[in-house]
Symmetry: C2
Subunit: 599 residues, 2 copies
């Protein structure tokens, strides 16, 4: 029932026909991504995901993690699976070969990570932390720190964590209180409490490398006074062997709605006194620039959470589709025939098509965006690289915000299709619904993504990049209209682009005087842009389907066009309503507290 | 954090100013509902809900139920709370005084049940089952059965259950296999397995009265061969005392996503042999008319689940509002001020207003519909009674389907407002999200509600009642437009009614030839009608606010108008998009399986 099959046909189609992998593989630094190698990587990843990680997903949910004498016990099978994962070279798939990574382009790594998330999101958070941490260290740390820690993280020999949140500092990192005292030898002593630290403690790897945000004694207040420190669980001797235990402890585990297999730790740094006060740490980069380093990584980290949305959604979809093809219930409303599987019922079919269309739209957008990352980083054509960077910057909050929100709807429908069985944990479908609920929250809530989109990405540059993107989408709408078989998709895309432009103009003309009203419309605006981008991407998929007849089954290609048409006609169609709601959102600047009720 | 305050001001306003209680209280049979009595009932219910039931909600979630030696152990405090509940006369609040009920109008009973659901839905399912069962017995059972069982059920001395579902017969009751063998003494022997039976076994009441759907030996196949039987846990002696244990057993409990405090039992009837084969049962009404009795009750039962949506939504809203007023995080985007509670952030305010607007729209619709039940039942004006009955029949699938779906969105936002704390079970907000997930499924999924709406309530009568309702809503739109302070609400209502009419005409003109396409649009149509009805009801609320200035605080009344305007401008605005999607829903009649992917 909870089997997972890697969607390799979809992945290959989108990579090769839509996201531009053949061109990206010709960029300097991406040459290793030959068709043969990419095929082999995807095949192997699909097998490992389905064979090793997917069966452990329900185990993690059922067993959860527990804290015993300061040790965190992860679910059965976790450690063995992780060892095989690291030995397979999967941790560093997209990381630099200089420190043991495979150096594959992001657009190749992205579908691989999607498969890991489908198979087992709670498990995959562990290696995902290594990638973010490795990027931060590569970006900002001293050569000495790099030499000591980076390869261990890239290869997955040691685990990594990000220690940002404190009880009073969730979305608001300005409120961080953890302190760092400089020592005579150039190291620091870190003291404070962090919460919500994923994999903050475990026995899976022999060491854990914590990145910790903290304040120096002379730091300015607010976000400009936050520095980043590397704090290992065990100190590392000069020869690379493990030394004394650092003063870092897990003091509690959260009991969560989902991702039970991932330990969410409350961490205490330097409060046990065994190091003589403070945990030993080393500064990463320069003082007071910690948040800046975080934000440079943030685009990638948020992108990864968006991909979680695709992965969890795909898993829920596969399970719902299998159930709908098996479960016999009711009679055919049109023919009256009995003994039909429920997939024949129009409403079940509508839900499955909705799920499928949403997943393909998200996936096409994410893979295309992954390609922009690669172009931005590797293209010798400066104009192309700059444009790709602009698009990445503009759309990262959309990939994160829209894909994670859309995933919730996919998982919601997956339960609904199961009827009463969907509410019973034994079926396994509820786990996806529970697991998914965190992804619209961590790495910045949807509200924060939307503020980033509207504030930093649109208003600040007066909509320039978004206008550039709209022009590209208009051009594709024109191409769609020129093809008689895809005309409806193009015509509708223009209607939805009109709505997007209306909303954009409203935001630009109200942005300064009525910032509160504009920000009240930020989340609807993020949804609007996500829907239009999804529509656009599926339009590109539909066009690509006509060019790929030699390489894919005709049925499969026709199915892609049907899904694109369905998305345009029944989902993206919300765009005008969202534009209307955004312009009316000044109602959210309602003055009276009484609107919230008399209670 | 999880305190509950009965929203008595909202309830009184809606009952008296919108739902027409003063007129209903003048109908024959409703005279007891004097203002003083209604006030006292609401006050007492609010106290009992907040003081007794609400604190047990988290207890039930945490402890769950367990099966030990065939006995079901319910959470701590459940039995004592139930005894107090029954002694307070709350079970039979809206049931006939002839058998021990209070006989209050449905529009008074409805807000009381809303409060129970807010306080503790898992608990409240127990007495709710008594009301449904009492109605069925009153409607169809013999005088002898009534004499033996009805007062026990109406007063809550004994518990009740509904045994419909079997593993192969969920939404499809035609597939029921449980058998009933007639005996020489006029009784029957029942044999079979039922699943998903809420409160199928427990020790809270000394006896449990099961209503069981089963087939007689000579029954025709399908839904026309289903009869209804009464099967007590303990046989009842002639003097009313309890006799031998019947052959009815709970053989398993489901491990569910939510409503953990409510035991969901797999029941075995007559398979233990202790009665010599079969469980002793008595037929309710005539053979082969079981489903018909079920359906007559169904409007009321579905209405009750719609009210669960309001109740759970209100509880989640109160908790999110309290959190947003307390939690300090981030700086004011407009003024830059720090130390502000998050309710100041425009996106948090948007979510809270959205929750509040949705709850008030649902509540106004449900209370108004409850008033229609009363008018249909009690009005001596036959035309008025008939019209109320038509509206009840038309809108019950909307109250059930739309209120339960809308509740999910309310609970979703409640988690989102909590940020990371929303994902931690300790906060309690996730429980509402989990508990709520069943209500779009049981008593008929949203898809089944929508099929009922489109098939039986709209197409079958060629849209007559819906046109009548639209004309009433148009008249109110005209009244709103005539008031300069409410003009926008009225203007928008007309736009949304245009969309509803477009969708209706499309359905009527395609209903016969393309029934599959029409049914694929049934759920979007249900949402469309729900949104328009919600907009209409809040328009009525806004108008009533102007007429009620002598009785309510000016701030409160202004808040109601603001909420009405917000709903019209940012939520009901989806109506045209839904109408467009419905007309395009023939895409759901997509022929190729390939649209579901290559997997």
């Amino acid at each position: 029932m909870t089997d997972y099959n890697a969607p390799l046909t979809d992945i290959r189609f989108l990579l090769n026909e839509v996201a531009g992998l053949p061109d990206i593989a010709r960029l300097p630094g991406c040459e290793e991504a030959t068709p043969d190698l990419v095929d082999a990587v995807l095949d192997e990843a699909g097998k490992f995901a389905a064979g090793v990680l997917a069966p452990l997903n329900a185990v993690g949910d059922r067993e959860s993690c527990r804290l015993e004498d300061g040790k965190v016990i992860t679910p059965q099978g976790w450690t063995e699976a992780y060892k095989a994962f690291a030995q397979g070279g999967w941790v560093g798939l997209g990381l630099t070969p200089e420190y043991g990574g495979q150096g594959l382009p992001k657009c190749v790594a992205t579908p691989v990570w999607e498969m890991w998330f489908s198979a087992n999101t709670a498990f995959t958070m562990l290696p995902q932390l290594n990638t973010g941490e490795s990027e931060a260290i590569l970006l900002a740390a001293s050569d000495e720190l790099k030499a000591t820690y980076l390869e261990k993280l890239v290869t997955g020999e040691w685990g990594g964590t990000m220690n940002l949140t404190e009880p009073q500092a969730g979305s608001d990192l300005a409120a961080i209180r953890t302190r760092a005292e400089p020592q005579a030898d150039g190291s620091y002593r870190i003291t404070g409490q962090k919460i919500f630290i994923s994999y903050g403690e475990h026995e899976i790897t022999p060491n854990i490398v914590h990145l910790v945000l903290a304040r120096l004694p002379d730091a300015p207040p607010g976000v400009k006074g936050i520095s980043m420190f590397l704090v290992p669980k065990y100190l590392v001797n000069a020869d690379g062997s493990l030394g004394a235990k650092n003063d870092v402890r897990c003091v509690g585990l959260e009991h969560k709605l989902g991702i039970h297999g991932s330990p969410t730790c409350a961490m205490s740094f330097g409060e046990n006194g065994q190091m003589g006060g403070g945990a030993a740490g080393w500064i990463v980069g320069e003082p007071n620039r910690g948040l800046e380093y975080m934000f440079i990584m943030m685009n990638e980290a948020r992108f990864g959470v968006g991909v979680q949305g695709i992965g969890i959604g795909e898993r829920a979809y596969q399970q719902a589709l299998a159930f709908a093809r098996e479960r016999v219930q009711g009679r055919d409303a049109v023919t009256g025939a009995v003994g039909q599987p429920i997939i024949q019922h129009p409403d079940i079919k509508r839900m499955l098509l909705t799920m499928r269309a949403r997943i393909m739209a998200m996936r096409a957008l994410a893979f295309t965006a992954a390609g922009w990352f690669d172009i931005a980083r590797h293209s010798p054509d400066k104009a192309a690289a700059d444009k790709a960077r602009r698009y990445v910057d503009l759309l990262m909050p959309v990939v994160k915000g829209w894909c994670t929100e859309t995933c919730q709807q996919v998982c919601y429908d997956a339960i609904q299709i199961h009827g009463g069985m969907g509410f019973v944990e034994e079926t396994g479908i509820a786990q996806h619904y529970r697991d998914a609920r965190i992804i619209t929250i961590y790495e910045g809530t949807t509200g924060i993504q939307a503020n980033d989109l509207v504030g930093r990405k649109v208003l600040r540059e007066n909509g320039a990049t978004l206008r550039e993107l709209i022009a590209d989408m208009r051009a594709d709408a024109g191409r769609l209209i020129a093809d008689a078989t895809l005309r409806d998709i193009g015509t509708r895309l223009n209607v939805h682009l009109d709505a997007l432009e209306r909303a954009l103009e409203w935001m630009l003309s109200n942005g300064r005087e009525r910032l509160g009203a504009v920000l009240a419309g930020a989340v609807p605006f993020l949804h609007l842009l996500g829907l239009v981008c999804g529509h656009w991407q599926l339009g590109r998929v539909a066009m690509a389907s006509h060019a790929a007849t030699a390489r894919y089954a005709a049925d499969y290609l026709r199915g892609l066009r049907e899904v694109a048409g369905f998305f345009a006609a029944t989902l993206a169609v919300q765009a005008p309503a969202l534009a209307t709601a955004i312009a009316a959102a000044d109602a959210a600047a309602i003055s009276s507290d009484a609107a919230f009720g008399a209670g």
